[in-house]
Amino acid sequence: MSGLELLAWEAPGWGAALAAGLLKSVLIALGAFSLGLLIGIGGAYGKLYGGPVTRDLLAVYTTIVRAVPELILILILYFAFTSSINNLLLAWGFERIQISGFVAGIAVLGVVQGAYATEVLRGAILSVPAGQIEAARAMGMPPLMLAWRVTFPQMLAAAIPGLANLWLIATKDTALLAVVGYAELTLVTRQAASTTKAFFTFFMAAGLLYLCISILSTLIFGRIEAWARRGQVRQEGR
């Protein structure tokens, strides 16, 4: 079979299988990125304004997660995550369950993303001029509304480049889930390649798919950044 026939949508082509793998990869990346963002917002505020215990715990979290290679973290977290949930269930007298690779993947990558997002957002919050926050406090704005309506939009412009990086890392880290047997794009590609022996065709195809995600993402993040920077004087070549 020629390369194009191998990539055809219908069997014996692998097109549909690759597309399904791609979809799973993107969905996991979206889930992990969102979870990471939530952890990051909590982590950044905790690190900046939390008590000493909160700060220490968060420092341990971000240090360990950022120090250990992601592949090892994924192996540890994946097996620890699934087995600890089952241990809990057994301890409470429930049946052991099969945790879907999808949920476990999002949880594991989300925890990794959260550590990086904590640092990106912490820096972005610090970049908000104190006067912007003070003006809102002086007018009696309550703290949560202040965070949502002043701090968050103000820090977004500074956070977007770092968050865009994190998103791209999230899309590529989904490939690491292949090691725990989850059928995302990389694992499907490997199966296709080893079944048909057309290694070059399939890995090139997968590489192109990842490239497409990244180009599309860059365009979208560019739009978001332009929106977040509304009201700022453009400073080019600085």
Partner: protein
């Protein structure tokens, strides 16, 4: 003194206020009283504590001790001076329009959005009502055509006038000005002072920290001269500027003249 004629109600009262930053004792027991319609100007050299005193009134700085009441309502404070009740502070802050040295307009919002932000989201004013009020205020400070502009694209004088309009849009009981012209280029000072003067003329209660002595003399009903965290001298402007008693105030007035 006799209490004969009914005095206008008290808007702001500060009693025996102390404030320390660590070991640095900035305010050493200062008091201030502003009734409705009063314009109190606080003057003094740099480091005299005048801005700190103003910022304690709405608790942007936490006093170390003392008593503050707004519109006759005492602010509940812990023994260390920190506010006891966040909700009370927020409510009282909504009745005090603060204008900062560095304007502090929200840069991600247009001028009109800056004005209606707190009325709509905090005070729950209907949006069309807030917009109508904001437009009136913008026209008043001479920025009617700037409502869609972002602050970063305006001059300092325009930004400060917008910031004054933003504070007025909350319909505050009193206005607090923290050196409103100190960050402006000299040629832009006049337009901002003119707006503040207009507010004084219409009988607004104001506490004003300023370096503009001529302006303070013209608009203030009462002037406080602070030196090293203490009130060195206070009184009506003509007395304070025309016939200062304390040697330090004489020196100070000479140095800024």
């Amino acid at each position: 003194m006799k209490d004969t004629a009914a005095p206008s109600p008290e808007a702001i009262r500060v009693d025996e206020l102390h404030k320390s930053f660590g070991a640095h004792h900035v305010l050493k027991g200062v008091s201030l009283r502003a009734c409705e319609g009063d314009v109190v100007a606080i003057i003094g050299g740099s480091g005299s504590g005048k801005s700190t005193m103003l910022r304690c009134i709405n608790f942007l700085e936490t006093p170390s001790s003392g008593r503050i009441s707004i519109g006759g309502e005492d602010v509940a404070m812990r023994p260390d001076g920190s506010p006891l009740n966040r909700k009370q502070i927020e409510r009282l802050r909504q009745s005090l329009g603060m204008v900062f040295q560095s304007f502090n307009l929200w840069t991600h919002r247009t001028v009109l959005e800056n004005l209606i932000e707190v009325p709509v989201h905090v005070l729950k004013t209907p949006k069309d009502e807030a917009i109508a009020r904001a437009r009136k205020l913008l026209a008043r400070v001479g920025l009617a055509e700037k409502e869609g502009a972002y602050p970063a694209f305006m001059s300092g004088g325009q930004q400060q006038r917008a910031a004054i309009a933003r504070a007025l849009c909350m319909e505050p009981r009193a206005m607090l000005f923290d050196e409103p012209t100190s960050a402006l280029d000299p040629e832009l000072v006049g337009e901002v002072l003119q707006v503040i003067r207009g507010l004084a003329d219409e009988g607004r209660t104001m506490v004003l920290v300023t370096h503009e002595m001529k302006f303070a003399r013209e608009v203030a009903s009462h002037v406080i001269y602070l030196h090293n965290g203490l009130i060195e001298e206070q009184g009506p402007p003509d007395q304070l500027f025309g016939a200062p008693k304390s040697e330090r105030l004489k020196q100070f007035l000479k140095s800024v003249a």
